[in-house]
Amino acid sequence: MARIGVFVCHCGENISATVDCENVSERAAKLPGVVYSTDYKYMCSDPGQSKIKEAIIEHKLTGVVVSACSPRMHEPTFRKACAEAGLNPYLCEMANIREQCSWVHEKSETTTNKAFDLVRMLVEKVKNNHPLESIKVPVNKTAVVVGGGVAGIQTSLDIANAGHKVILVEREPSIGGHMSQLSETFPTLDCSQCILTPRMVEVAQHPNITLYTYSELEHTDGFIGNFNVRIRRKARSINEKLCTGCGLCCTKCPAKKIESEFEQGLAYRTAIYVPFPQAVPNKPVIDRVNCRYFQTGKCKVCQKLCPTGAVDFEQKDEIIEVKAGAIVLATGFEVKNTDFFPEYGFGKYKDVINGLQFERLASASGPTQGEIRRPSDGKIPEKIVFVACAGSRDVAKGIPYCSKICCMYTAKHAMLYKHKVHEGTPYVFYMDIRAAGKNYDEFTRRAIEEDGAKYIRGRVANIYEKNGKLIVKGADTLMNGRPVEIDADMVVLATAAVSCEGSESLAQKLHVSYDSYKFFAEAHPKLKPVETNTAGIYLAGACQAPKDIPESVAAASGAAAKVICLFAGSELTREPIVAKVNRMPPPIFSTCMGCGMCKEVCPYQAIDKEEIKNRNGETIKTIAKINPGLCQGCGICVSFCKSKSIDLEGYSNKQVYEEVLALLNS
């Protein structure tokens, strides 16, 4: 026989202002199966919890209904209290009479009646609860980090320094990401490579980090603590063990006119190449699409030159299977570099470049050794126009969001230009100056006030070439929309920051949700910014939204902290709210027919088929089997099951029917 206790909370005045709590408690006492009922001002307080504990012992309660706020707030509190009094925590339920009643209704008898109805439903439910035990899952203490930009580097180092193994997977031949391409960083103007390369080297030398460059994540399955990850190491055509990184092979490669990705097309590279001098690993790679040997079958000059015989044209892609407890995505972003602004002439005029290209021009290691020379004829530009928001915050272009980094890097560009070309004039067209950040506004003011960048608030209508100049036409909206025309020598477009190519398919592979711009989605925009909706997969850096370096690094350390927390114990405790296929004695075994519909609809790949065999090993029946480690308790399989063979623990069909019936039988 059920012995249920009901505890009605006033929540100060939050509930009692509109609900007559005493009345609810008195009526609840008369419900069949209820042996004890009381109300109290703050049920979540220590004395409140003590009331529950004492009642459990004194009245030998078999179930508890706390009628208070949302279970999202205090369910753990009350379940813990029950457990302390010796009652299985899953025999405690909450009736939400605050969010779902007192807060949304006026004070009236009807409101009180509704609160009572909610209590009545939960009393009927809890009668059908049975004790559940939380699920323990072992944790594999290795993390896979995808992406070797500054975010991926930071996450890897943090996790590795905490003593855990890290596998860092980078798609490009070297780690470093966009940060390695930057000249100087805002707001301090310190050299980007100088602060990044020590970290890159640290990654390469760290005993806990295994680095796979020129590699891609191909497949994952499994679940938090127990992922199986398949990595494809693309054939580098170089035996990394033999290669000493001397660079001799690159000197005589006949394919020399290949646009360098690292230099953003502003310089050429050879077919066998090291992307940049500080690359980690400092081992070349053969770009098979442009390699003469791979295209014509003749050449092999690099192989002849290599003193250690490291060049290997026969090398094949290698598949590596690893087991990991956590995955961190740090795949970063791209800047748009197409002609999606045909009126700005990007791609048509050589001297209209994007922000990343300007970074290369300003970089000491760049194609001009840091001198600001325009790409078309190498002249030092006397006037440069910088266009902020070239595509960002533009609904018509399909990118309504702010790319966040452009205001700052545009100010930096204007400054760098002025520092290098004293007689030059930088113009900046902007919509708003968004410089929120430590020392950020001071930085943009410095660009304007000390370095004399001419800021014009307005948008650029079009850019065209005339007599060797780029005519930039725009409007000055602070001068009543007066048309402005500037005959510039070079134009730098702060094109929108967009998600990386391939991010959508990666998200689908990992079952991570993403937004309409294909940036990965965090589990909660405020309280779970580095988690994803898939347990055990975390986000770091600009793969989630445009972020600058400090923010990316902060997010990366945040993600690392989450992974370290996960790895702190040897096993994971999970809520036992999972789906279960019913089992019964032979000859039925289960009402499941093995139709497999549940397997199809499960968003977490938690369902597999199980064969029931007789003593001779012959299959008698095939039924569905749910992996409790993977199941997230969403209940989709329950609703799809035609034979009603699946139930959700804690929310069984029986429990829900009883709740509904209680409401109908009032």
């Binding site: 602004f341 045909p342 018509a396 079009n462 850019i463 065209y464 005339k466």
Partner: protein
């Protein structure tokens, strides 16, 4: 088989740009297309109505559409850029918003049952002329031309989904099929001054002047247009332009239909080429 299309000329094609009308009609005829004017058509409201009164600006085109529907027209050619813009916008708005449609129908006293297909002149040429052009072509227009689209031709972009908004290409492509060499120039959609032609004709010298001058400087031998307003400003206002620019700019301004007509061997009378104020020395 003879193709039949509805036709809405609008005021310009009956007045200052008769040659546009003439060339459109003769070109259609040359391609076996019969143009049937909307019976008892009225003003589309053009540039003034939508600045004054929302309902009026919708009611005027709505009546035209209703008249067309009554005449059994399913597809209609609207050569004037302003007219086609007004008709397309109105039809879109009315069929998107039933409440508004009801109000406008009450105003006009005429109802609209289904949207009809409204073609601007470029869409018409792309669809009905270009595929047949190789068969009808008798000579090539081997000139360097500057295609000038003006502001309205490829708009409203979100409804039309036709061509690139700021750097359109459709006219250039059509001119290539006529044997012309379109120049790459930045003023394809630059403002010509439009309706200010009447109230501030001095401004036309500056605005249209830049366009005519740029086309000349970039080596064009003709400017190609598809809008009566553009034509009026670039052609009729040439004296104002020349005065403002302080030079004598002789580049002729031709309607795209006139050029294709010439390529297909239509006579100067059919294309109305003699009606321009800036003399056309191209045969």
């Amino acid at each position: 088989m003879k193709k039949k299309l509805g036709f809405y000329p609008g005021c310009s094609l009956e007045g200052t740009s008769r040659e546009y009308s003439e060339s459109v009609i003769s070109l259609a005829k040359r391609f076996d297309i019969e143009l049937e004017a909307v019976p008892d058509w009225n003003c589309c409201g053009a540039s003034s109505a939508h600045n004054l009164n929302k309902i009026l600006s919708l009611a005027l085109p709505a009546r035209i559409l209703a008249q067309a529907e009554k005449a059994g027209i399913k597809e209609i050619l609207v050569p004037c850029a302003a007219c086609s813009n007004r008709l397309i916008t109105t039809q879109h708005e009315l069929f998107e918003e039933p409440e508004l449609k009801k109000e406008v129908e009450e105003t006009t006293g005429m109802s609209l049952s289904a949207p009809i297909r409204i073609l601007n002149v470029i869409q018409f040429i792309q669809e009905y002329i270009v595929p047949e052009l190789p068969n009808k072509k008798v000579n090539a227009f081997d000139k360097k031309v500057a295609c000038y689209y003006g502001c309205l031709l490829v708009r409203p972009h979100d409804i039309l989904q036709f061509d690139r908004l700021e750097d359109p290409q459709s006219m250039d492509e059509i001119m290539k099929t006529s044997g012309a060499e379109p120049i790459d120039w930045p003023f394809k959609t630059e403002c010509c001054g439009a309706g200010l032609s009447l109230s501030r004709s001095d401004l036309i010298g500056k605005l249209s002047g830049k366009i005519v001058n740029e086309a000349t400087e970039r080596g064009a031998e003709a400017i190609i247009v598809a809008c009566p307003m553009c034509h009026a400003n670039l052609d009729m206002r040439r004296p104002v332009i020349n005065k403002y620019m302080g030079k004598k700019l002789n580049i002729p301004v031709l309607y795209i239909t006139q050029v294709i007509g010439m390529v297909c061997g239509l006579s100067p009378k059919d294309t109305g080429i003699k009606r321009h104020l800036v003399k056309v020395n191209i045969n």
